[in-house]
């Protein structure tokens, strides 16, 4: 019986495929001159903000080293994190990528030997803010270059506030009282990214502090010295839930992702935007109207009239960083790249008004009013929070915290249930 022709054909094609795959692998090493470096980040918009800064830096490096070119992968925030985790699993992390210094994100990579330690001396001449570089140190070694000093506050649109006849709220009750005035004008009072949950978690931290007057309260609960079921935590949860119930946020809060919520603010459908200092680039985003750019401003997170927290207690932390993957064919070039990036980052980021870098900067007369306002808030801060609760433990705890906050604002959980489950999650995370 003749051997089936088709079977032969299939085997041949499998063989061809394998050869092809092998050939692909070979071609890289035969090219001695040209170097292609893989870079990844969560900044898909290369025309504005940090995306533009990153691209400018990469282009600048190529100009200085013509044999080096880059292959860049950019995704929005959450898909980006998932992709990086996937790469970590396959041991295929890019040569340089943007990440976060938290124990929920960077530490697992450090433990898995997936990121390369950096030479601290390379960065000693950069005027980093206190604690910025240290937040990237694990086991005594430096693993990342800090990107921004992140702060949490309330952006607002002056013209919309005027239209509704609302003054900038300084207390939570002011905020709540403004809701009917905005609704009467068909304006959403406050928007934030409810789908990803972390803005809600950070706001929760902020509320706890506004109640108790100290950022240490949540830290103690995480260290299991006190419990999340204590009254102050339940009360903070009640406040957050009341905000949602009273219609403070957009009605599709929990399905409104980062881009969607930012849009609602930029398209002037919402008066206020609860977000961090890295959105400084709002003012120069070309997709929004000139009216928006002229009217966007920022205010400190409101205080609770009955609470102990002060207006100058600021939720601030060092979050984003750039790291080097451990596996690389050109470690020397990578190290030079990250050194170049670190030196360019501060001046460029501030120059393009993209975000607040994690270094001391020279304010200029030409800075946008928004930038000036943020600098002022930063300057006036009397106490800061450090790494937020949700990023101070395990990845599973982070997801749980986010999910509980989402359930709290949707009314699926009562504040007591929220507190109970949060405490259980903290206990479990501490036990590991």
């Amino acid at each position: 019986m003749k051997i089936n022709r088709a079977f032969l054909l299939l085997t041949a094609s499998l063989f061809l495929a394998a050869t092809f795959a092998w050939a692909n692998g070979q071609s890289e090493s035969t090219q001695t001159q040209k170097v292609v470096i893989k870079v990844a980040d969560n900044l898909p918009d290369r025309t504005n903000g940090m995306g533009l800064v990153t691209q400018t830096i990469l282009d600048g490096f190529t100009k200085a080293h013509p044999n080096v070119s880059f292959e860049v992968e950019s995704y929005p925030d959450q898909p980006y994190q998932q992709k990086m985790k996937l790469y970590a699993t396959a041991g295929q992390l890019p040569e340089m990528f943007k990440y976060w210094s938290f124990s929920t994100l960077l530490k697992p990579l450090v433990d898995g030997n997936l990121v390369r330690p950096l030479n601290r001396a390379d960065f000693s001449d950069i005027p980093y803010l206190p604690g910025a570089l240290d937040s990237n140190v694990y086991n005594g070694k430096l693993y990342g270059v800090p990107v921004t000093a992140d702060m949490w506050f309330v952006y607002y649109n002056k013209s919309l506030m005027q239209k509704a006849g609302v003054a900038v709220p300084t207390t939570i009750s002011d905020l709540m009282a403004s809701i009917p005035k905005f609704k009467a004008q068909g304006i959403i009072p406050v928007v934030t990214d409810g789908k990803d949950g972390w803005p809600l978690s950070i706001t929760y931290d902020n509320l706890v502090e506004r109640l108790t007057g100290s950022f240490d309260t949540v830290r103690q609960a995480m260290a299991r010295k006190i419990k999340f079921t204590d009254p102050e935590f339940v009360q903070a949860a009640q406040i957050l839930q009341n905000m949602a119930k009273a219609g403070l946020f957009q009605s599709d809060l929990v399905t409104s992702d980062y881009g969607a919520s930012r849009n609602l603010f930029g398209q002037e459908k919402a008066a206020m935007y609860l977000m961090g200092s890295w959105e400084l680039g709002l003012v120069s985003d070309k997709s929004f109207s000139q009216n928006f750019s002229d009217n966007v401003a920022v205010a400190k997170f409101p205080v609770l009239a009955s609470g102990k927290g002060q207006t100058n207690d600021l939720v601030a932390w060092y979050g984003g960083n750039w790291v080097l993957g451990a596996k690389s064919k050109h470690p020397a070039i990578d190290e030079e790249l990250i050194k170049y990036l670190a030196h360019q980052w501060g001046p460029l980021t501030w120059g393009k008004q993209a975000a607040i870098p994690a270094q001391k900067i020279q304010p200029n007369e030409t800075d946008s009013p928004l930038a000036k306002a943020i600098l002022q808030i930063a300057g006036e801060a009397t106490s800061t929070s450090g790494t937020t609760t949700l990023d101070s433990s395990t990845p599973a705890f982070k997801e749980t915290h986010q999910k509980l906050c989402i359930e709290l604002v949707s009314g699926v959980l009562t504040p007591e249930q929220f507190a109970q489950q949060l405490d259980a999650a903290a206990a479990q995370a501490a036990g590991q």
Binding site: K2, L10, A18, A21, P44, D45, R46, P76, R262, S287
Partner: protein, 268 residues
Amino acid sequence: MLIYSFLIVFALLQIFPLIWLFDFSLVKSGQLFGPEILKIPDPPQWGNFVRAWTDGNIPRYFLNSVIVVGGSVLGATFLSFCAAYATTRMIWKLRVVVYNIFLLGMVVPIQTTLLPNFIWFRLFGLYDTRIGLIIPYIAFNLAFNTLMFTGMMRSIPRSVEESAYLDGANMTMLLGRIVAPMVAPAIATVSIMTFLNGWNEFIMANTFLASESLRTLPFAVIRFEGQYSSDYAIQFACMALVAIPPILLYFVFSRWIMAGVTAGAVKS
């Protein structure tokens, strides 16, 4: 008459979302927030489509989809045809066991295989290649395709094959010249369903491909989320562009799909 009006209302329900999509892909982005249900684009912003086409990298993604899906259609159709014949018509001990192994493919969720395959394919150099996507596409379609072919093959009387053999046909000729034409509707159905499954598939394409140059068409829509998250009209234009090829193909092949489903599904 009543039947007609009911059918028309239902047709509107099925198609109106698409009409809305195409309509608002031709307006300026901010106009989506207005109260109109449908807006006559004035002037029609064809530029949205142009930008979606170029910035969305649609030609390249389209080509990749064609290559990947084409490969998987050929592979899945061919392999399941052979496998179905062997497990339906041939007589051997492990026949039912093997048949059930193929059917297993239907109950396995793709997510289960994502991470193991991600690691495992890398060993073979299949990560971030089109072949690395074609192989699982074939695998996941084998179950249903084999089922389709089995159904149809069962209805062919053995006598046809036996007389062909008596006339001197070997296995290849038997399969190619006799059996294949008789199950042509099933071949059509299987090809088309494999095509649709692959064309629309998203999770595996997202996970197994990393390079821009290799990505498939569904990714074009995702791509717009970060960069153009504020420009709804362009997002709509991109979705419209991605929706058009399958619709066109459907209009061309609708008869075949009908015939195939009739023959394959009904007989099984």
